[in-house]
Symmetry: C2
Subunit: 147 residues, 2 copies
DNA sequence: GTTATAATTGATACAGAGTATCATTAAGTT
DNA sequence: AACTTAATGATACTCTGTATCAATTATAAC
């Protein structure tokens, strides 16, 4: 989904500009910080990495990026809300409760199933939120070794 | 699921007692307030209905009731967290974004599907969170009438 | 029924995540 | 370069909880 020739950070800014938002230096700093983040992160973690950017601006930028589909929210099992680069388009997460890694779940049949279930309840489906928790392959193999 | 001969409020207290928690007058007040609540509610709404009970106690009671399976958390589309009487056992909600009504979704095939998807990712499933948003039958019919 | 003891309470303070306000600053436009 | 408007950031505030801890109360033991 990444546009050719654009770094991740540039792509984030690009998306905002397409929506009419200005490219400012605080926003560039936020975009760079997010682009260099490998995993899902909290707003506060991001803010700590950006001491020169105001708190409100960090939160505002996160909100814009979520609204424009570049970021998605990830709800951890303990209720913590994290943010993560979204690979555009609707998807779900397989979250490892051991190491926290998240794998995207694309093209599964959940939407179909929900459509069926909804219509059985005479319910007009408009959206859904799904998070899946468990243990990832690599945590499972470590467990086996140490056991 | 309701035990014979017990009111809803009594059942809530009963569950807590079974787990070794004492039956106290603040907890009775909380149980009564929850039992008389028809819909999902926020912690703060509950607290407002219980001015004589301390804030911390209201939150503590909610936590105990969620842990013991009597209440479940409901995540609204706007991110608001509500509480709702759970009919014991794992289930999901169909939430109407129009009127807020919630219908329980029991015995659907989502678990099976998730098991399949997880094993395809060599992921050991341990739990999941699903909320479904849309418009309920009665909101749809009102729309049709006024349109 | 007292007494002992351990859980519970509630006042208070604190924390985390985010929003509102608003004077100042900086982008983009002409 | 000037202008217009968006964006910023300091600050204060909200909302949903949790931690602390001395005072209270439920339950069990006598």
């Amino acid at each position: 989904m990444r546009r050719r020739g654009l770094s991740l950070a540039e792509q984030l800014l690009d998306t905002l500009e397409e929506k009419g938002y200005r490219s400012t230096s605080p926003r560039r700093a936020v975009a760079n910080a997010i682009a260099s983040q490998e995993r899902h992160f909290t707003a506060e973690e991001l803010r700590e990495r950006l001491p020169e950017v105001g708190r409100a601006t960090v939160y505002r930028s996160l909100k814009l990026l979520v609204e424009s589909g570049e970021l998605c929210r990830v709800l951890l099992e303990d209720g913590d809300l994290h943010y993560q680069l979204s690979h555009r388009g609707h998807h779900h997460h397989l979250l490892c409760v051991e190491c926290g890694v998240s794998e995207d779940l694309l093209g599964c049949d959940i939407e179909d199933l929900l459509r069926q279930v909804s219509s059985a309840h005479e319910f007009q489906l408009s959206g859904h939120w799904l998070e899946v928790y468990g243990r990832c392959r690599s945590c499972l193999s470590i467990e086996t070794v140490t056991a």
